[in-house]
């Protein structure tokens, strides 16, 4: 077959995230691949091709760590690819899996994202090697400062308040209490967040997500094949990708507070999905939220609220599970854990929400359409995916 075809999602594969797991990357891949196959009633032989993503090889201390994953993902003897676009790998890999099936070249693709962060002594130290060695590293940059310059620009531009960031943290850690795969479900208060130490103003310890080991899988499948195994098919409606320059100190818009590339990614996905008013047509969103203010920037870029309106959306309760447009009801990276590439969990949870299989994380309102976003690369990449039923 070689003509364009519609693409759905047959199942997702889950496993608990945690700060340290005994599992190797291969073992994690096996668990989530097997879980996805079992839930869809498919076998390894039914998969035509694989696409696997992780963000940062250096966490594992092994170059081209994708080679570990071939056997564990079930890919022996079949077409097999790796994708890496920093943290946005979490959704750009599903975007690629969609494209492989949509092209008509294959009918069934296993998509897996993973990260094993605990293999190294100091993940912050590893992160320091993502920065440019000539222009940035000698000056001194680390994750706290990276957040500080971006978050300050964002708050300055839009008047977002620290209290609103704190409210989002309270909501996400609370949501994670009901997520069986989460490592940091916790009942906390706004005061707890505001009183936690600054990593760099305005970002505090409880505005950040925990480092984590984990993996996620999803099976992307042609419409014809999906209808054979699922009488309530959920389709990929839109995908989008945006990227911006490595030179964050000299970009066209000269403002780290506005993520032009994230708006681009969302616009593409909505145009493809035929969505004109995302704030009413999207029913639940899992946004990429390694830090509270990142969730807010991504809510705005995805048009879930007006630009600069993310604080109000959270403050007024619209983002809660019983709200009009729930935001990361799974608990997100903040509550579930943040094994960078395996932030693909955002996409898997949107599928569980549309299918009504999100358990205690299921939102109150009906869900036909959901979006997930990924972000990464020192403010460089966005990926967006819209899924839903007809």
């Amino acid at each position: 077959m070689s003509k364009k075809q519609r693409v759905g999602v047959a199942s997702v594969g889950m496993m608990p995230f945690n700060r340290v797991l005994e599992d190797t990357a291969e073992e994690m891949a096996y668990k989530v691949a097997k879980d996805a196959l079992d839930k869809a009633g498919l076998r390894r032989d039914d998969i035509d091709a694989w696409v696997v993503g992780s963000a940062v090889d250096a966490f594992s201390g092994v170059n081209e760590s994708d080679k570990f994953l071939v056997a564990g993902s079930g890919g022996n003897g079949k077409p097999w690819f790796r994708n890496a676009t920093s943290g946005s790998t979490a959704v750009s890999t599903p975007d690629l899996a969609y494209s492989m099936v949509a092209s008509g070249q294959v009918d069934v693709v296993m998509c897996i994202c993973y990260e094993k962060m605990s293999d190294n002594e100091n993940s912050q130290k590893v992160f320091n090697y993502v920065y440019d060695p000539a222009w940035v590293r000698p000056v001194g940059l680390n994750v706290p400062l990276q957040c500080g310059i971006e978050a300050r620009a964002y708050l300055h531009r839009y008047g977002i308040e620290e209290e609103e960031m704190a409210m989002l943290s309270v909501q996400s850690l609370g949501n994670a209490l009901d997520n069986p795969y989460a490592q940091r479900g916790k009942e906390i208060t706004v005061e707890d967040v505001l009183e936690s130490p600054y990593i760099s103003w305005p970002v505090k310890v409880l505005d950040t997500s925990p480092v984590s080991d984990g993996a996620r899988a999803a099976i992307f499948i042609s419409e014809d094949k999906l209808k054979e195994i699922d009488d309530d098919p959920v389709y990929v409606k839109g995908i989008g990708r945006g990227a911006d320059s490595y030179w964050f100190m000299g970009r066209r818009n000269n403002d780290l507070g506005r993520l032009d590339y994230a708006y681009l990614g969302a616009d593409q996905a909505y145009e493809m999905a035929g969505i004109k008013n995302p704030s009413t047509e999207v029913h639940v969103a899992e946004v990429y939220d390694p830090f509270t203010y990142k969730a807010m920037q991504h809510m705005e870029a995805a048009g879930l609220c007006p630009e600069g309106g993310a604080g109000k959306h959270i403050r007024e309760g619209h983002g809660a599970r019983d709200g009009k447009l729930p935001i990361t009801p799974s608990g997100g990276l903040l509550g579930e854990g943040n094994p960078i590439g395996a932030g693909m969990s955002r996409m898997t949870w949107t599928w569980l929400q549309v299918k009504g299989q999100a358990g205690d994380c299921q939102v109150e309102r009906d869900v036909d359409t959901a979006i997930s976003t990924g972000w990464g690369g020192m403010y460089q990449y966005n990926a967006t995916m819209v899924i839903g039923r007809d």
């Binding site: 496993m15 608990p16 945690n18 700060r19 340290v20 797991l21 005994e22 599992d23 668990k31 201390g61 605990s118 912050q124 060695p133 000539a134 222009w135 940035v136 000698p138 000056v139 001194g140 940059l141 680390n142 706290p144 400062l145 957040c147 500080g148 310059i149 971006e150 300050r152 620009a153 300055h156 600054y198 760099s200 103003w201 320059s245 030179w247 964050f248 100190m249 000299g250 970009r251 066209r252 000269n254 403002d255 780290l256 507070g257």
Partner: protein
């Protein structure tokens, strides 16, 4: 289920020295900075942006930028952040600051250290580059940017 302990581990370290090329544009920038104390950018012939840090191409118009222009050593703080931890992770009594400085005469600027001089460190605040006396062709030939 997964154990939340690492189990048996095989311990080791990765220890490799690197010599990162500053590139065509970067080499010229750092040479000018070292020899003449000047901050240089490249100008796009189409959109007329002056790129700092310099690139040999404009990433928007995707054309060569072969005109080099000198930009000011003073500029404006676009954003900044403070840290109470040193680069080795040690706790500090007084914070240090980094930020993005948009240089006058350029459409971008440099990521660098900021210190308090005559005015507060704030978005939109004015700063001036402090150059090292002995320069080596390195970003730290600029010691920091001081508020004026």
């Amino acid at each position: 289920m997964s154990n939340t302990e690492p189990g048996v581990t095989i311990d080791g370290r990765v220890d490799v020295e690197y010599h990162w090329s500053a590139g065509i544009a970067g080499s010229r920038f750092f040479t000018e900075l070292r020899d003449n104390g000047k901050i240089m950018g490249t100008k796009c012939p189409e959109c007329k942006r002056v790129l700092v840090p310099p690139r040999i191409f404009c990433e928007e118009c995707f054309v060569d930028t072969d005109e080099w222009v000198e930009v000011s050593t003073s500029g404006e703080i676009l954003t900044f952040a403070e840290s109470y931890f040193g680069l080795q992770g040690q706790r500090l009594e007084e914070p240090w600051y980094i930020g993005i400085i948009k240089l006058d005469g350029a459409d971008g600027g440099l990521f660098h250290r900021i210190v308090k001089g005559d005015s507060e460190i704030e978005i939109g605040g004015r700063v001036e580059a402090v150059l090292a006396d002995n320069r080596e062709g390195h970003i730290m030939d600029i010691v920091n940017f001081k508020t004026v």
